[in-house]
Subunit: 327 residues, 2 copies
């Protein structure tokens, strides 16, 4: 059945049913009224929004609907993670062509709800519109019960720059899909998973906050571009040592010389990039099983400098993803 | 200059500057970090989202950018009003073709900020994407300090149905623009204003709550369609008496026989439709200078019946706006 046959209200009822049945003691009203409503509390409140547009953020025909739902939510949960917060509620704004299959929309919701349930996130509202192409815009609301947050603007010269996990696998996944590259099954799975089903570092974000970290961002546009955002907001510079960057081993094996570029500028890894003193970073490393790697240092200058093993600056061109302009 | 020349980050900086300089004691972080952050409180929290899509919600080439910005925010403020709440923060998700003029985007923001400032609403975040068409998706967060809210699901048989203001002017505006109809200058201005710059009934929503009203919705899809939402959510029926419907006098004068249809099914008036006992409605009328008109009654049945002066049912076909299906 197409969404044009079911109609807007029928589709809302169907999706509300899928999203319902949640136990949330503070929630008063979920999907189905003029606005969602819940009991507030005195903790710091967080809100973020990110859109997914067909042909821009996902190649038409390549993205499977459940993965699309997962990822559209994941990028927003990652923003809450980068503040050290706990995601709570999501509002889902969907624009759909009338000829979209209802089964595809429920598949989208299945993927979204799989991730939402993992983190006790409740879909409490949204809207559905007719449109010539698919647009998924998700708002996530969260909080920080510790009454502290991670920001982009608190980096200080002399602090170390560190990153969670390994980098480059999501960009490898996009390259693989776009260029129909072939890899062995474990690499194929890893690249695909990294691109379509990134894991937001929610636990790790809260752990950073607990251990005394003040500054973080999630890697969405690319390591260099996102570190540059920290530099801009904190009015500092930064140096990255290329040989310390934790490139995903399967990306190194599969992409050779190109692997470093994918790790530095590919983006969409949704790992956390943070700065802190050496002592704090040691505490973080001890407190988590997630890999944490120091990759450079905050400096008194401006902008990001990437240097190779010999200390020579590496020219990356215009690194990272910026909408409207070519890389 | 086109947005492709300024780039995503340049445009974000420009819009952040326009939205900035706000005095909000609870706000910790506005535009420019991974998420917006503010100090929470124990009041009931509200959240709503609504999208505006080029060619669907606004005819390409007709909508002036400042009015588009006003309206995209207004429809969300209206949802908060329909809960009896106070709007506080907005997140603006913009999808723009690269060839969009930067001046048009700042004009959009000017219109949005004009309305935002009227109601002390702060734009605290958002995102900007490249897209083949303009999509504006706004999330508004608010609260109800009275720890009560208006819902759709609390209507009881025997209650009266009432509405704020006059109806039909927004639909008249759309007809006028689409069909290039000519009216005298005051009517032209009124229809245009009603369609492009609706006034969300924020003060009135809070007043309804204060006077003991429990049930309300804002008229976005049309009087009959929205009353039907109350009926569905409350498991009741409703009767509307056509001769009591407060049709906008200029619509009556300009559209004759068609005026009632515009008022009943045209939608986008963003007036508040509510139900309560006669005593409460009298108190509401005394407490506000806004016109309040009783138009019918909640019944024990299901669905909305519209009856004329003789008590005969009026057939409206499929009334109100539903996405994906034709009226």
């Amino acid at each position: 059945m197409k969404v044009s046959e079911l109609g807007e209200f029928g589709l809302i009822d169907l999706l509300a049913k899928m999203a319902g049945g949640v136990q949330d003691k503070q929630l008063l009203i979920g999907i189905g009224d003029d606005a969602a409503a819940w009991k507030g509390d005195a903790s710091i409140q967080l809100a973020t929004v990110d859109s997914f547009i067909q042909g821009v953020h996902f190649p038409t025909g390549i993205a499977p609907w459940p993965e699309l739902g997962w990822k559209a939510l994941a990028v927003n949960l990652s923003d809450i993670a980068a503040m050290g917060g706990i995601p709570r509620y999501a509002l889902v704004s969907l624009a759909l062509p009338p000829q979209t299959e209802v089964n595809d929309v429920t598949a989208l919701y299945t993927g979204m709800l799989e991730l939402a349930k993992k983190h006790n996130v409740t879909i409490v509202g949204g809207d559905i519109s007719n449109a010539p192409l698919v647009v998924i815009s998700i708002t996530v609301l969260g909080n920080s019960p510790k009454n502290q947050i991670l920001t982009r603007s608190s980096a200080k010269p002399g602090e170390l720059v560190a990153v969670t996990g390994h980098l480059g696998a999501a960009a490898a996944g996009l390259e693989m899909l776009n260029k129909k590259l072939k890899f062995d099954p474990p690499a194929t799975t890893r690249f695909r998973q990294a691109f379509f089903k990134p894991t937001p570092r929610i636990t790790e974000g809260q752990l950073l906050l607990e251990q005394g970290v003040k500054t973080a961002i999630d890697i969405s546009d690319g390591l260099v571009a996102d570190l540059n955002q920290i530099c801009k907001a904190s009015r500092v510079g930064a140096r990255i040592d290329t040989d310390r960057v934790p490139v995903e081993p399967k990306v190194l094996a599969g992409f050779g010389d190109k692997a470093l570029e994918l790790a530095l500028t590919g983006g969409e890894d949704y790992e956390l990039l943070f700065t802190a003193g050496a002592e704090i970073i040691d505490k973080v490393k001890k407190a988590t099983s997630c890999p944490v790697t120091v990759i450079g240092e905050i400096t008194a200058g401006a902008g990001v400098t990437v240097v190779d093993r010999q200390g020579n600056p590496v020219d990356l061109g215009k690194a990272g993803w910026e909408h409207f302009t070519r890389r």
